[in-house]
């Protein structure tokens, strides 16, 4: 590898000898891949010289329209922020015939992987963790947008890496980033994924709000777990976007019944089809999340959920659902102080667990969990 500040040729004869234990990282879900054709690989290897792992993302930029709006690697290399994965170097990868033009962006290796990796390994997140991860990524995105004038253009759970320190999460993979024009837009690329906004297909013009749109689905994944990625092909995604529909079905996008009202409102606003109805800046969404009233619900046994009080140590609130003979549910709210569980609010009857009535029971209990 040569050069750290500019796009350079990978002509160093030692290049391959320095890479040990090299392996390709990949997810086999078509709907998560930004560039389906050509070269699109993430490689991790041991850098013997620097005694650490490195990650290189290779991609063929000749397959992209508007390739000319990609920021210079030197620009990407200058971005240094707590919530953005730094580009350490960029190289032109030799050995590919024209018209292929393969470049590799080199970054640090973060062993915890991405949100997608965590979800696929069965990891779950509390609402507090979901909000903190989202806010960290939004702060990284704000840095790209407001300080460097760059659109990410490929925001997705797979591009948000989870940290093991206080930075919580970083936004990664600036390989498809583009510079905003004077009118605040940047051309869309042909990279439809589950996270893509409608304008990728309709106007083909992206704004800051286009990069914020994916956070609706990212929050859904953090709160409700992995989606059935295998169900969605690339052609499904394109087809749904062409019909002005969200790439993800309403059923799969459904939030857990306990999702706090404030988060439901934020997610709804984030995922609006019309750009002007969404949060216009990452900061705006970040601030909204900071003000959200949430509770960390966990299903402790079937149809029983508990959340700790946020400001009173040792106290907990519980919502339990019982199915009645007629198929309806009755939801009871209880609070545990020292002695045991005590009923705290009137029971709520709900025809289904996904119904507005059931959500109302959790909203009421979330307010209780936030009492001081």
């Amino acid at each position: 590898m040569t050069g750290h500040n500019a796009l350079t040729e990978s002509s160093d004869p030692d290049d391959h000898t320095r890479r040990e234990r090299e392996r390709v990282l990949s997810l086999d879900f078509e709907c998560l891949k930004s560039i389906p054709e050509g070269i699109n690989e993430v490689r991790v290897w041991w850098d013997k010289l620097l005694d650490c792992y490195r990650v290189g993302k290779r991609f063929d930029i000749s397959s992209l329209d508007h390739g000319e709006v990609l920021p210079e690697p030197a620009t990407l290399q200058k971005i240094r922020h707590k919530h953005v994965v730094s580009v350490l170097a960029a190289v032109n990868v030799k050995g590919f015939s024209a018209p292929l033009r393969v470049i590799e962006l080199i970054t640090e290796y973060y062993p915890r992987g991405s949100i997608t990796d965590a979800l696929l390994s069965g990891e779950t997140f509390t609402a507090t963790e979901a909000v903190r991860i989202t806010q960290a990524a939004l702060r990284g995105l704000a840095e790209l947008h407001e300080v460097h004038g760059i659109a990410h253009r490929d925001v997705k759970s797979g591009n948000i890496l989870l940290m093991q320190d206080s930075s919580v999460a970083k936004i990664a993979d600036l390989g498809l980033a583009g510079e905003f024009g004077a009118n605040g837009t940047v051309p869309a690329l042909e990279n439809p994924t589950l996270y893509s906004p409608l304008e990728l297909i309709t106007t083909k013009s992206l704004t800051r709000a286009s990069d914020i749109y994916p956070f609706a689905l990212i929050l859904r994944e953090l709160l409700g777990g992995a989606l059935p990625y295998e169900k969605y092909s690339r052609s499904d995604v394109v087809s749904r976007l062409s019909r002005k529909m969200s790439p993800v079905s309403a059923e799969d996008a459904r939030l857990p019944v306990w999702t706090p009202r404030d988060l439901r409102r934020i997610i709804t606003k984030t995922g609006q089809r019309a750009q002007q109805n969404r949060y216009q800046t990452a900061r705006e969404m970040d601030q909204a999340l900071s003000a959200a009233m949430i509770a960390d619900w966990r299903e402790t046994e079937p149809l029983v959920w508990e959340a700790p009080f946020r400001h009173v140590p040792g106290r907990q609130v519980q919502v339990s659902a019982k199915k009645k003979r007629n198929g309806d549910y009755v939801l009871s709210t209880k609070v545990r102080r020292n002695a045991g569980w005590r009923k705290n609010a009137d029971d709520i009857y709900a025809p289904k667990l996904e119904s507005a009535d059931a959500r109302r029971a959790f909203d009421q209990a979330t307010v209780i969990a936030n009492a001081r």
Binding site: K82, T128, V131, A142, E143, E146, V147, R283
Partner: protein, 158 residues
């Protein structure tokens, strides 16, 4: 040079970013209307501080702020513990954000601001918004924005 005036009211942080105005009738040139930054009530106390500092840092960094001035309180006695705690937490967050970005921080007494803006020190929330180029008060003006913008004037003058 861009500066940030900061006022803290009821634990809420109001930030005004401005630079030197070329027009003689303006006290300073606002970059944007005042912004309000609230501490995240849902976090535990330690994370509440670092989260607030992180968000303030983001705002100072985004606007290339080079100096920070905090409007000093005029209340020197009879504080309730919870009110004092909220103010100290907010001040700590502003200081942390400044230190992280290596931006000089200072506390500015209301008398100094009053002298700079030619307005009574004890009535800074009623500085006229026209002095900063607004025909009518922008959001958060009387809540804390006016004082925050007031603080930008001595900062830019010094």
């Amino acid at each position: 040079m861009r500066v940030a005036g900061v006022s803290i009211k009821s634990g809420q942080v109001y930030v005004a970013v401005a630079e030197q105005a070329n027009e003689p009738h303006l006290l300073s040139l606002p970059i944007q209307p005042p912004i309000r930054v609230l501490a995240n009530d849902g976090l535990d106390q330690a994370h509440r501080l670092t989260d607030l500092a992180d968000r303030l840092q983001q705002d100072f960094h985004t606007h290339n702020v080079e100096r920070i001035g905090l409007v000093a309180t005029r209340m020197h006695a009879n504080w309730k513990y919870t009110s004092a705690y909220e103010r100290v937490l907010a001040i700590s967050a502003v200081m942390l954000a400044g230190v992280e970005l290596d931006i000089p921080y200072e506390e500015i007494k209301t008398e100094r601001i009053g002298k700079a803006v030619e307005h009574p020190a004890k009535d800074l929330e009623h500085i006229s918004p026209t002095a900063f180029g607004w025909d009518s008060p922008p959001k958060y003006w009387t809540a804390g924005g006016a004082e925050a913008f007031g603080a930008t004037v001595p900062l830019l003058a010094s």
